[in-house]
Amino acid sequence: MNYPTDSALLSRLLAGEQKAFRELVATYQGAMRAVAFAIVGSRNADEVVQDAWLAVVRNLEGFQGRASLKTWLLTITANTAKTRLKHNRREVLLDDISSPHGSIGDERFADDGHWLLAPYAWHQDTPEALLTEAELRECLEKTLASLSELQGSVLHLREREGLELEEICNLLQVSLSNVRVLLHRARLKVFATLEHFEETGQC
């Protein structure tokens, strides 16, 4: 097996050790929810993740270790979600929903493409320092909640789970160019949220 940490965890899972399942769930639940969200939407996502976990437990012996445990789990989740989605997949929604703190739009630039309103200097320059502000955390949660299901999932899978863009395309069946657009717009909204907070000290 190519993934030694996976293999150690797997034998504990096969033995039915509760702590091993706790580790598994804590590590992968977030990514699985993001995949389910993107494919079936928020209303059915929790049920899909539940079903995916049951499928995982039933098929643990079948896990060959040819892919990482993460890839295996996310593929099962994507397949479970697609099975649930009996009707044809909705079009990828590239229309952008506006975010509570906006984005970095054309209004920030002069006609010649130079900054009109340049990025504001932030007071903090580490993530730890920024995140000590409870209000900023809430503010970010609001922005993340305002993203479309697909956009939020793409951002989550890329930034929090560290998936490659190609993996995201394959799991969610979205083209690379669409993933890039979704990701970029989501990042600008997060950027604008942080900037707004650093500039005004409030959400």
Partner: protein, 77 residues
Amino acid sequence: MLSCKELVARSSDFLDKQLSFRQRLAVRRHLLACKNCRRFIKQMRLSQAVLRQLPQGQNAELDSLAAKLAELRRQHS
């Protein structure tokens, strides 16, 4: 030369290494000359790091799910 607006439009592709060699060079050249865009890219990287470290709750929920799955596994074997 790339404008600031174009640089911002390509910033995610730059961070994700999706640009061609030539495009990447154009971004780097712009950054050398433009303090505002250097700040922008630095803050984009910081935003990414903030997202990575944003805490995620729901521990109790995960405990009960893990217990259920372990139980199921033991029944299954």
